[in-house]
């Protein structure tokens, strides 16, 4: 079979691109930036999703919260004992925790209570319990803080201790006993660990109450059944399973990148118009050239094909450059500015490394959002050029 790829024509197309150098470089740069931006967004959301998913994986399968008047309310610790009697449940642990807003720095800390001789619902906590004795910490009113928290406190000149302001306005002084690193940075960055007693005191919580209860079900197939049983036993609770969480995370980030994409459409449309305009504005030199080609026997289809090669080469190059620079931007430079949009929360939360996640689908996705759109914008101008009245342009 004859080789269908016309190298002569491709060479001509490349030559034609080089001839209109400044115009094409301009398009290349703008288009590369657009694809890079788009790819970067997908890469960032992909990374964060991955990071969050692994956080979710580390979470207990089921979380039980008490709901009163439509709001989250403290739950009785005795509920945990009841839940333990359900077949299939291996652990049910009441958690005591909350967010503490540190006004000076304008950030939120997650304050988590830990009891020394209780089953730990997180591996990282179990490790901590081995390292620090929380019984002892409790008697001295001290705490273990995440690395990020440590930095924030230091910059407010709290080196050895920290003063928590209790709901009644009085102060509670807690000393810093150590610093820890969590499994994921996102998690450990804003976390403060101390004994449950101290946490209750800071948040003014009653003895025998907990923030929520986490349930461990060894067999993943039974999670849904157990969750519905708990719901039946305690109709006033909200039962969240980790599968639900995963889906809602996925949704949130799909939604975020979706909203971004929706905004991006505007940019894309603008670009479409620019290309259309650039491609339509043929100089008399270009017109004459097409006239010559037709006069010496090029078909309309040949010229259309040549124009297609031009736009394909240009847009595909931009696509490649865009992808490459996005990878560099996100994983080497850690996506300055852009990732703030997607991470949200306080300043503290954002100081984690984006893990390298590569999904081939992103490449296809970006491809469909770049190359075909560029080519579409050049269809009508190319056709106009290809069907010029030869007679009028070559004289």
């Amino acid at each position: 079979m004859k080789n269908n790829l016309n190298l002569y024509l491709i060479e001509f197309a490349i030559n034609a691109l080089l001839r209109a150098k400044s115009k094409n470089i301009f398009i290349l740069v703008v288009f590369t930036l657009l694809t890079a931006l788009l790819t970067a967004v997908f890469l960032i959301t992909g990374s964060i999703k991955h990071e969050l998913q692994s956080t979710v994986d580390a979470l207990p399968q089921i979380t039980v919260q008490k709901i009163k008047a439509g709001r989250h309310y403290d739950i009785d610790t005795s509920v945990a004992d009841e839940i333990l009697t359900i077949a299939g449940v291996s652990e049910a642990v009441p958690r005591v925790w909350g967010y503490y807003y540190f006004e000076n720095a304008g950030v939120n800390f997650s304050v988590v209570g830990i009891e020394q001789y209780e089953a730990q619902y997180k591996d990282s906590f179990a490790k901590l319990v081995e390292k620090f004795d929380f019984e002892e910490l409790s008697s001295q009113s001290s705490m273990v803080v995440g690395r990020g928290v440590k930095e924030v406190m230091s910059s407010s000149y709290y080196k050895e201790y920290f003063n928590f302001i209790k709901p009644d306005g009085s102060l509670k002084k807690v000393t810093v006993a150590g610093v820890f690193d969590g499994d994921t940075e996102l998690e450990s960055n804003d976390m403060i660990l101390m004994s449950k007693e101290d946490v209750r005191e800071i948040f003014d919580m009653q003895e025998g109450k907990a923030t929520d209860i986490v349930v461990k079900v060894p067999n993943p197939e039974e999670v849904t059944t157990v969750a519905s049983k708990i719901k039946l036993m305690y109709p006033d609770t909200r039962v969240i399973s980790s599968t639900d969480l995963k889906i809602s995370y996925q949704n949130i980030f799909d939604y975020k990148s979706g909203v971004f994409l929706a905004l991006f459409v505007v940019a894309l449309f603008t670009f479409f118009m620019i290309i259309y305009d650039k491609a339509s504005g043929l100089s008399s030199e270009e017109k004459r050239e097409i006239g010559i080609l037709k006069a010496i026997g090029w078909r309309v289809d040949d010229i259309l094909k040549e124009k297609f090669y031009e736009s394909f080469i240009l847009s595909f190059l931009a696509y490649l450059f865009g992808i490459l620079s996005a990878f560099g931007f996100v994983y080497l430079l850690q996506a300055p500015l852009l990732r703030e949009i997607f991470v949200g929360y306080s300043q503290l939360k954002t100081s984690f490394e984006l893990p390298f996640v590569f999904e081939i689908q992103t490449l296809f996705l970006v491809f469909f959002l770049s190359v075909p759109i560029y080519i579409a914008a050049t269809i009508i101008p190319s056709w106009r050029a290809a069907t010029l009245e030869v007679d009028e342009v070559i004289r």
Binding site: D254, L268, F364, F368, I379
Partner: protein, 319 residues
């Protein structure tokens, strides 16, 4: 409503298709009404030029639609993780009333656009442009199908309710279910396989005798028979599970994306096969069509047959 970026990408491309196909449609209508090869008017020359634009647009849409179809199937698969209960694309297709129609329509449109290109190719080969009116008449119809597809796609993605529980493929494609699809399970496996290989055998005979119309018809029948036998019989060997009949799961990475290969082969084989019968062609082209069709269909048959055979060799029993 699902706002996944993949879905948006499809919708964005759809709006481009809509815009451009609308242009092509208007040109088609104009050409269809006013085309007169013997006229020497400025208008006729103008129409000849416009026919290039219409043809280019249609070629563009087809060229993008082909890979986009695979992307669409992939997207269904991806958003299935968002729907409670769905394990693969089947659940998403089933999540709304439009899913299965959309899928069939999409496939049909690919065939339609493919045939349009064949007609176009034949048309521009002859200096009288004998099929120009016909091909644009054909496009007017194809455009309406495309329009329905685009609207349906928008409606489908718009009406998927993330919070609603959907069925997974296990229940959709099981012999106990009452859905229309499960009707095919009432066919006996032996009958089914006889039909499948019999159909292929006829195809080979018609190929050797060069009966173009019978060959095309046997290809048309082959689409149906091949799909049913794939769901009912061959699929189970891909999964190595006698109860798993899903035509979507083997698109996933667990089965090395083999589904994309299977469907592409089937599409190409039957497309070239039906093309042979559609229009008058030069002998050389028809010969090529016959051959391509035979190759793709042949590879398809070998591929799906290989699954049960290898299963038997390894395990010594049939499912």
């Amino acid at each position: 409503m699902i706002l996944a970026p993949e879905v948006l990408a499809i919708l964005i491309l759809n709006s481009i298709f809509l815009l451009f196909s609308l242009v092509a449609f208007v040109l088609s209508v104009r050409i269809f009404i006013k085309w007169d090869m013997s006229a020497t008017t400025q208008e006729q020359y103008g129409l000849e030029k416009q026919s290039f634009l219409a043809a280019t647009i249609i070629k563009y849409i087809f060229a993008i639609k082909l890979p986009l179809f695979l992307f669409f199937v992939f997207t269904l698969d991806k958003i299935s993780t968002l729907l409670t209960g769905a394990m693969c694309g089947a659940g998403v297709v089933d999540a709304t009333d439009y899913g299965s129609y959309l899928l069939i329509l999409k496939l049909m449109n690919l065939y339609l656009f493919g045939f349009w290109l064949t007609l176009h190719y034949l048309d521009i080969k002859s200096p009288n442009l004998p099929y120009t009116r016909l091909k644009f008449e054909f496009f007017i119809v194809a455009f309406l199908f495309l329009l329905v597809e685009i609207v349906l796609e928008g409606v489908m993605f718009g009406s998927i309710d993330i919070d609603k529980m959907v069925s997974c493929c296990g229940t959709l494609y099981s012999s106990s279910s009452t859905s229309a699809i499960s009707g095919i399970f009432s066919i006996d496996t032996t009958v089914m396989l006889t039909l499948f290989y019999g159909n292929f055998l006829f195809m080979v005979i018609f190929y050797m005798m060069r009966y173009q119309y019978l060959f095309a018809i046997s290809n048309l029948a082959f689409i149906v028979v091949a799909l049913i036998s794939l769901i009912q019989f061959f699929g189970t060997y891909i999964y190595e599970l006698p109860t798993h009949h899903c035509p979507f799961c083997f698109l996933q990475s667990d089965y090395y994306f083999v589904g994309y290969l299977i469907y592409s082969l089937l599409f190409l084989g039957t497309f070239y096969g039906m093309r042979v019968g559609v229009v008058k062609m030069l002998d050389e082209d028809r010969g090529k069509g016959f051959k391509l069709s035979m190759i793709f269909n042949g590879v398809y048959v070998v591929l799906v047959t290989a699954y049960p055979i290898f299963y038997f060799i390894r395990n010594g029993v049939w499912l």
